[in-house]
């Protein structure tokens, strides 16, 4: 296998792509987690709202990524902005769904005793419901992360210079296609696995006494 030879020969190109990839993924996780958390809380509070939010976030996931990026580039121009917006949209479903499920799974007796002791609705949310839902919410963020790391490669189609470019450049080559594709895929896979392991570690550390979740 000359994949590693290929990576070494092209390190000058691939290294900045890895950096760009990490930057985009990092930003998208942060933004999608914040928005997803907000939507999840809203969905946990209101059933009608939940129906709408879940329908919209699920529908977004059915749009093929290059079509979505292409569409978004009409408003956001080329390169990073449309891809970031698109990836944030993709990440919403797992984060929102798990936030809602995590809050809903909190024992009603715990919430009632919190209210009965004089916690305001905001205090119940911040001191009881969210802390207890943390492992489930992190599970959603993990799913979103793995997805975003992979789909970010498609950003290359609208001009993002991330690891997708290395994969894209392999298409149509007469020789060394496999090496070039793998040179893009292997770092992507490593980023995905590493991010997942880190989040899984955090999830386990924060699960003490909380709503139990199977490590998914």
């Amino acid at each position: 296998m000359s994949v590693f030879q290929y990576i070494a020969d092209n390190w000058g190109v691939i290294e900045p792509q890895i950096v760009t990839h990490l930057e985009i993924v990092g930003e998208c996780i942060a933004i999608t987690s914040l928005i997803g958390l907000g939507l999840g809380i809203a969905a946990a509070r209101s059933e009608p709202l939940s129906t709408v939010i879940m329908a919209v976030t699920s529908t977004i996931l059915t749009v093929p990524s290059f079509a979505l990026f292409g569409l978004l580039s009409i408003w956001f121009g080329l390169a990073n902005p449309p891809v970031i917006v698109g990836l944030v949209l993709y990440g919403l479903l797992p984060v929102t769904r798990n936030t809602r499920a995590g809050i809903k799974a909190v024992d009603l007796a715990v919430v009632e005793s919190a209210r009965g002791m004089g916690m305001s609705p905001l205090q119940v949310l911040l001191q009881v419901e969210l802390p207890l839902a943390v492992p489930v919410i992190l599970g959603g963020i993990r799913q979103a992360t793995v997805m975003i790391v992979a789909i970010a490669t498609v950003g290359a189609t609208v001009g993002v210079d991330d690891l997708g470019q290395t994969i894209l450049s392999a298409i149509g080559r007469t020789t060394g296609t496999i090496d070039a594709v793998l040179a893009g895929i292997i770092p992507v896979a490593l980023i995905g696995i590493l991010a997942d392991l880190i989040l899984a570690g955090i999830q386990r550390a924060l699960s003490r006494g909380r709503v139990s979740v199977a490590a998914t």
Partner: protein, 314 residues
């Protein structure tokens, strides 16, 4: 003092509590008891406004509870429920500190209070402060729930079937502990149960409610057992109310037969109740039981002594 003044709670067309008027004095334990659907829990939750009445007023020391900020009101009232509802992600100490923390007490004061409360419930802080609720037995959890409710030293304690989910032996222990605790802290306790024995054992007064939140009788346990005011009360008291009443009479208040000759083989501790004495009488071979305090036999209990004692205190 908690006053219910013609309190009504309706859900659509069904009446959960029907014109309930009740006065609970400071420092007394009042038990709300009745079958399911009698509105006892609803009545309790209207005191700390987890449920708002449809009509009528509830006041605490003559102040309408609706004039309080709802969270301030709840922080000033202890609240214990059957499922306890301890915060599973917090330690025993953190749970007990909940209300003081909400009231923004200084750290040191909170810590001192938590230690005091854990001592009070018999789970000293040194061994138990850092434990998680999942590491406690059901009975320990319930005691921590009581400590948490007492956090900021409220005058009023609301308890909603607190021992309902506990096995009978531990329940009996918790009941005795509550009686002991109440002698120390002297709170106004409103306690909901469906178990008439528990009501009779723990209450200074018992309010018996029937379906639809109708107050059938509000009286001391002795009065309730001896003079039920309606057919409903009689039926709810069930079999053997007089036998049950024996559990309310301490042996120390009974005129015993003096020991004459050899002390009987069977004995009962002088700290018990006539119910314990009756048990011993039934267990004995000759119907005579010595009442002992330490190694001293104070006197003898037999069926006649029990009968006349139960007559006198009626």
């Amino acid at each position: 003092m908690i006053t219910f003044d013609r309190v009504v709670k309706r859900y659509g067309n069904s009446v959960a509590v029907d014109h309930l008027s009740l006065q609970i004095k400071s420092g007394e334990t009042v038990i709300l008891v009745g079958p399911s659907g009698c509105g006892k829990t609803t009545s309790l939750k209207m005191i700390n406004r987890l449920i708002e009445p449809t009509e009528g007023t509830i006041s605490i020391d003559d102040r309408d509870t609706r004039t309080y900020d709802v969270n301030d009101l709840r922080r000033s009232i202890g609240y214990v429920i059957q499922q306890v509802g301890l915060f599973p992600h917090q330690t025993v100490a953190e749970n007990v500190a909940t209300v003081p923390r909400l009231l923004k007490w200084p750290k040191q004061r909170i810590q001192a209070r938590v230690e005091e409360l854990l001592d009070l419930i018999g789970l000293p802080a040194a061994q138990h402060a850092k434990r998680l609720p999942s590491e406690l037995s059901g009975g320990e959890r319930q005691r921590v729930g009581v400590a948490r409710a007492l956090g900021a030293d409220p005058n009023i304690l609301l308890m909603d079937e607190p021992f309902g989910a506990i096995d009978p032996i531990a329940r009996e222990r918790l009941q005795n502990e509550l009686l002991r605790l109440q002698r120390v802290v002297r709170k106004t306790i409103v306690f909901v149960t469906h178990d008439i024995d528990e009501a009779v054992k723990l209450g200074d007064r018992v309010a018996l409610l029937s379906k639809g939140g109708v107050l059938e009788q509000f009286a001391t346990p002795e009065e309730l057992l001896a003079h039920p005011q309606s057919k409903f009360v009689t039926e709810f008291l069930g079999e053997g109310p007089l036998v049950r009443r024996l559990a309310l009479i301490p042996i120390s208040e009974v005129a015993l037969t003096p020991v004459n000759g050899a002390a009987p083989a069977e004995s009962v501790d002088a700290g018990g109740t006539l119910r314990d004495a009756l048990d011993a009488v039934l267990r004995s071979s000759d119907g005579r039981v010595g009442v002992v305090k330490g190694d001293q036999t104070l006197g003898i209990v037999d069926a006649d002594v029990i009968r006349s004692a139960s007559m006198r205190s009626r």
